[in-house]
């Protein structure tokens, strides 16, 4: 800690800004874990001047400085004080971050495929690791313990493919699984990844969007109440590739989803959408990262969440990094939360780092609003009954994301889920 303290003092003097030891703009004491990275070219020091996320002298302040490795031993044991785990209740993680993950992975079934294929391969297959590298300890632990990998391939130049991959969990022994989704060049497809049943699961999903491919991934976390799920979605978007990624989370006791999108060629486009609905006691966390490392790419992020019940907790952290070389970038991220009852908590942290001035646009927004008695009174005073008023507000709020799905069965299923969740508040 002595080193860190010295560092803070030096930084303070240099920037001439007041700083409180151990505090950032977010008001939390961050871990000194990534100290070494602070001096790297794109590390904490390099980006501090523009960063919203980090404060002066905090080594972990740039997302670019975050460790990545296939080897779990490269990540120190978690304490819960790390920037990317400070909101996560590690005690409820079922050991996913530290234990051997020897349990049986949930079964995976493919349906609706016409041209797409699903293979089971060894973790040594060349396609494993082709689109991503773990960005946190759980992801690396899953990598280490995954017995095999599944590879879904959408053939080049195919169009109109719409497949569903269903993970069905039947065991709460800590397990690991690995999936690679390859959308080959110029293909156009929709991949629904459905998660149901009970699990304690650390999962990596690599998403390889090859040149000119257009891929929609819809990941539904529709687990049973006791599920614990940590999932890294690691996407690589190559030249002129387009990824639309929609995360929908409402099941499980604890879900921690970290979608991460990296551009690997010009002209790529990424849309990250998310919808979550947290009930009493649920912890639903979404941490995403958009890494603009190449020129002329576009990203758009919108996550919306509703919360109800005692100790319902949602976390949304959106890291967008526009690197020096990412000229012509256009980027926007927003998170909106609607708190329906007392006792629920929504944390929302947008982090935007911009290392070049030569961009088309970049912005971020975050709002957390309450649905309260005054809203209800207002709507009811216009003749709308209480139940309808509540549904009107929540449905209207979440609809913006539901509309993005464009798969009628899933939209319907979500509408029903939202109704069911709301019925729980009525009683």
């Amino acid at each position: 800690m002595t080193d860190t303290a010295t560092h803070v003092t030096g930084e303070k003097a240099r920037l001439g800004a007041p700083s409180i030891s151990g505090f950032t703009e977010e008001g939390e004491n961050l871990s000194p874990l990534n100290e070494a990275e602070a001096t790297a070219p794109l590390g904490g020091d390099a980006s501090k001047a523009h960063s919203h996320g980090g404060g002066a002298g905090i080594p972990d302040s740039s997302r670019a400085g975050r460790k990545t490795s296939y080897n779990v031993e490269d990540f120190p044991a978690l304490t819960g004080r790390e920037e990317d785990f400070r909101f996560t209740p590690l005690k409820r993680m079922g050991g996913l971050h530290k234990n051997e993950l020897a349990g049986t992975a949930p079964e995976l079934a493919l349906s609706g495929a016409k041209a797409a294929t699903l293979e089971t391969v060894a973790m040594t297959d060349a396609r494993v690791g082709s689109a991503g590298i773990p960005e946190d300890r759980i992801s690396a632990n899953a990598w280490k313990h995954a017995a095999e990998a599944k590879v879904l391939t959408i053939p080049a130049n195919s169009s109109g493919e719409q497949v569903t991959l269903t993970y069905t969990g039947t065991s709460t022994e800590a397990a690991a699984s690995h999936l690679v989704v390859v959308a080959e060049a110029n293909s156009e497809s929709v991949v629904v990844i459905d998660h149901v049943g009970s699990v304690v699961l650390a999962q990596n999903i690599e998403i390889d969007v090859r040149e000119g491919a257009k891929l929609t991934v819809i990941s539904l976390q529709a687990w049973a109440d006791d599920a614990i799920h940590a999932s890294s979605h690691l996407a690589k978007v190559r030249k002129d590739g387009h990824l639309k990624h929609i995360a929908v989370t409402y099941g499980g006791d604890l879900v921690r989803l970290t979608p991460s999108a990296h551009f690997d060629g010009e002209g790529g486009e990424v849309e990250l959408f998310g919808l979550y609905f947290a009930d009493a006691g649920q912890h639903l966390e979404h941490r995403l990262f958009v890494d603009h490392a190449t020129e002329n790419c576009k990203s758009n992020v919108l996550y919306k969440g509703a919360l109800q019940g005692k100790d319902a907790h949602t976390v949304w952290v959106g890291d967008v990094l526009i690197r020096k070389e990412a000229k012509g970038t256009n980027s926007y991220e927003a998170n909106r939360n609607l708190v329906l009852t007392e006792g629920a908590r929504a944390d929302s942290v947008p982090n935007l780092e911009i290392e070049t001035g030569l961009i088309d646009g970049a912005g971020h927004a975050s709002t957390t609003g309450r649905f309260d008695d005054e809203h209800l009174f207002y709507l009811m005073s216009r003749g709308i009954d209480e139940k309808t008023a509540r549904r009107l507000v929540v449905r209207g709020f979440l609809n913006e994301i539901v509309q993005q799905i464009r798969v009628p069965e899933i939209e319907e299923r979500l509408a029903e889920t939202i109704e069911r969740e709301l019925a729980a508040t009525d009683s």
Binding site: F371, H375, F377, S381, R382, G383, I384, V393
Partner: protein, 252 residues
């Protein structure tokens, strides 16, 4: 013709210091087609009367009655009151996140009429009502009152008044925070609604200036939770000259 009758109404609210009586025996009868202005100094209970008629949960009626054509209004829930034909234009309209104006207006209209409005005529009605109130068409796609200025919120209240066509409208300080132009636009809206629907109006205001645009048939002066004086439009003129001092200086 319909009649809204308020008889010896006593209303209290819960405060940190215990129950506080705000209305201390108010009686008032309004018939459709009539405009009643309720005037009075701040804190005299004007807005409490408005909120109580609409059924706001904060206010407790301890005695007295409110009836609409003989039906007990106090027995009705907030939404039932609206469906029975009452409308409160609020002093501080609430922002409702996630609900677009279009969706809100249609849902409310459907609830009030008991059937969905015909889509084609409804869209036209909304559009023309917005134009008359000088509300930007873009507001239709925005969320209810979200990010609207004070004046815009008041116009949107009157927009609802024109579209929902209530039997009785209670306007709670609709004039506050409006500049002269907006005041005129809003007043014209109220007058249109009154002409078209034979609406009864309870106009609550601190100032007389709105009465230049909306002519009251009756004026009631509220002081300390009671009606201290009533008369015709000429009473408002007198208040304009003298203010409320002569009511406040009388020892209780």
């Amino acid at each position: 013709m319909s009649t809204l009758e308020i008889k010896d109404l006593h209303v209290s609210i819960e405060t940190e210091q215990g129950n506080k009586e705000i209305l201390k025996g108010v009686s008032l009868t309004i018939k459709t087609g009539e405009t009643h202005a309720i005037m009075g100094p701040n804190g005299s209970g004007k807005s409490t009367l408005a909120s109580t008629i609409a059924g706001h949960p904060r206010y407790t009626v301890t005695s007295g009655s409110i009836t609409l054509d003989g039906a007990d209004v106090l027995e009705m829930s907030v939404d039932e009151r609206a469906r029975a034909g009452m409308f409160l234009a609020m002093q501080y309209p609430v922002e409702v996140p996630g609900v677009s104006m279009t969706n809100f207006l249609r849902t409310a209209k459907t609830a009030i009429d008991g059937e969905a409005p015909k889509l084609r005529t409804w869209t036209k009605d909304v559009k023309s009502a917005m134009e008359k109130l000088k509300i930007d068409a873009e507001f239709a796609s925005r969320n209810v009152n979200e990010g609207f200025s004070g004046g815009e919120k008041k116009r949107v209240e009157i927009l609802q008044l024109e579209l929902f066509k209530p039997k009785f409208a209670i306007l709670d300080e609709t004039d506050s925070g409006l500049d002269v132009d907006a005041l005129k636009v809003v007043s014209e809206g109220v007058n249109r609604a009154q002409e078209e629907n034979e609406m009864g109006t309870l106009l609550i205001t601190h100032y007389t200036r709105i009465l230049r645009y909306i002519k009251p048939d009756f004026v009631h002066v509220f002081v300390d939770g009671k009606i201290a004086e009533q008369g015709g439009a000429e009473l408002a003129d007198r208040l304009e000259d003298e203010g409320y001092d002569r009511f406040l200086n009388v020892p209780a």
